[in-house]
């Protein structure tokens, strides 16, 4: 704050310059590789528009990248679509250079939630923008005193995080429903649904559990359910705040586990749908 520093400050160090003797570059490198892998794979999967549902042996598995499935692509009847096949008005405004993919209609919401997440922000500022590249390691010289942080445009928009949280909570319910739905298998004889468990059921069930650990430990959620108050007392509100705080202490771990698992769930459903993997029934 404007309490002037009247003595010359030490020189600013150059990019990567540090007295640290440990392998400080490993952490940002791993984060970079982890995020880059997920971004590349999820983008590729989102543009595919096929192999997102598996109904072999009566299963009802839907990839989380495509849930909620608003419309099926033309000519497809996955059984998961809320409004059936994509309507002609939607197809008429769809960019002609790419195939219709329902994932592109919804992925901006969970993507926005993760992009504006406090943990991810700190992590990708380091790994992608070297801002800073790691603690007490020099930054790129061009930024220097022009640094704007999240105080000014564009990063001030990160404050929208809580609105993405509201959407993420809705997605959590929808993915939990998908997990419950995966316990139902169509009986080939009667045509009705019967309880069952396949490997895919476990995969789809772990997904909302990990996402729940991540979403319910979100800093904005923790604030909204009690952190915003100075006096919480010791009632149910305080207990909810304590539960969220407990998850928040491992927010980074939940963030990574849920990120990996949501990607793996898509891989599982996709490879089963393509006939490369077999979904073994346990019950």
């Amino acid at each position: 704050m404007s309490q002037g520093v009247n003595v010359r400050l030490p020189q600013i160090r150059k990019l990567g310059e540090t007295s640290r003797t440990d392998n400080w570059w490993i952490q940002p490198l791993l984060v970079f590789l982890g995020f880059a892998t997920f971004i590349v794979y999820s983008t590729w999967a989102a543009f595919q528009g096929k192999h997102f549902a598996f109904d072999g042996a009566g299963a009802h598995y839907l990839s989380p990248f495509y849930s909620p499935l608003l419309w099926d692509p033309p000519g497809m009847h996955s059984g998961h679509a809320w409004f059936g096949e994509a309507p002609s008005w939607l197809l008429s405004i769809w960019p002609p250079f790419m195939a219709f993919s329902p994932a592109l209609l919804i992925l901006w919401a969970p993507g926005g939630f993760r992009f504006t997440c406090y943990y991810y922000r700190g992590a990708y500022y380091k790994a992608f923008w070297a801002d800073p590249i790691n603690c007490s390691v020099g930054e790129p010289g061009f930024r220097k005193e022009k640094y704007r942080g999240e105080k000014k445009f564009p990063l001030i928009l990160q404050n929208v995080h809580r609105y993405f949280l509201y959407l993420a909570l809705a997605f959590l319910v929808l993915l939990a429903w998908d997990a419950i739905h995966s316990f139902m298998f169509t009986d080939p004889v009667s045509g009705g649904n019967k309880f069952g468990i396949g490997i895919g059921t476990l995969v789809l069930t772990i997904n909302p559990i990990l996402l729940g650990g991540y979403t319910l430990g979100c800093h904005s959620f923790r604030h909204l359910i009690g952190g915003r108050k100075n006096e919480m007392g010791d009632g149910i509100g305080k207990k909810a705040y304590d539960c969220s705080s407990c998850l928040n202490r491992r927010h980074m771990l939940w963030a990574w586990m849920s990120l990996f698992w949501v990607g793996f769930t898509d891989v599982y459903v996709r490879l089963c749908s393509m006939g490369i993997w077999t979904d073994y029934r346990l019950i």
Binding site: M1, E150, N230
Partner: protein
């Protein structure tokens, strides 16, 4: 443990630079012990600030092998003594001499933050009633020993020299302790948003990593303050709700 070399930043202004000192080291020694031994043996004018030698006064802050740490709490058996141990003064503050920096800017910033303003007493005898759980939350922030390692490692101060526009993690912790106090009625959010430059923090969590008192600075102080600023200035729905709610 034998002999070890300490590469210490010595001198003043343009003449300052690294100088190697070799000294005997033994079991249980911390970096501050080695510096004192070097002062006694070969460098009587070597300046370093210290006081309690117990990690509670926050005086002996320095950078050891590039990491901001208290010299009195850094045991030599945690360091690789096969290479020189590099000891430097903090980088976010003006250098005075050797390992000493001028940290007075921090005290001036602290003075400028709005003071504690309790509500009217709850009882006729002038006392207040609070839930223990509500006090526990701010108790964490009161562990701060003002070593300013968090200020040192924060890249907003260290690399961008935003001292005129940014209060730094230490003062966000101080503000959070006041702002979340169950009795407090003052509003410091505008001050932190504008003069304190809370938005400059980009959540690198470096401050949390170096805190010798293990205060969860980013998650428990800075982000909750950021969220309160969002409530007050950026979230239209919360602002709408607040219009119908009496102010504290």
């Amino acid at each position: 443990m034998g002999k070890a070399t300490f590469r210490i930043w010595t001198g003043q202004a343009e003449q300052a630079g690294f100088k190697d000192y070799a000294t005997d080291v033994g079991e249980g020694m911390v970096v501050l012990d080695a510096v004192h031994q070097i002062q006694a043996e070969t460098a009587p004018t070597l300046a370093c600030r210290w006081n309690c030698k117990a990690g509670k006064c926050g005086s002996c802050s320095a950078e050891i092998n590039g990491k901001p740490r208290l010299m009195c709490m850094t045991r030599l058996d945690q360091l690789d003594l096969s290479m020189p141990v590099v000891i430097e003064p903090m980088k976010s503050f003006p250098h005075i001499k050797d390992l000493v920096t001028d940290v007075s800017w921090n005290f001036r910033v602290k003075k400028s933050i709005k003071k504690f303003k309790p509500r009217a007493p709850d009882a006729p005898d002038g006392t207040w009633r609070m839930q223990q759980a509500d006090v526990d939350r701010v108790q964490e922030f009161r562990k701060c020993i003002e070593c300013f390692l968090c200020q040192d490692v924060c890249h907003v101060l260290r690399d961008h020299h935003k001292h005129p526009e940014f209060a730094g993690p230490r003062h966000f912790v101080y503000t959070a302790a006041l702002e979340m106090h169950p009795l407090d009625t003052e509003d410091r959010l505008g001050q932190m948003k504008d003069e304190g430059g809370l938005g400059y923090c980009n959540i690198t969590k470096c401050c949390t990593k170096v805190c010798p008192e293990h205060i969860t600075i980013t998650d428990n102080a800075i982000i909750p303050l950021k969220e309160r600023v969002v409530d007050e200035y950026y979230d239209p729905i919360t602002r709408l709700f607040k219009m119908f709610k009496p102010r504290k």
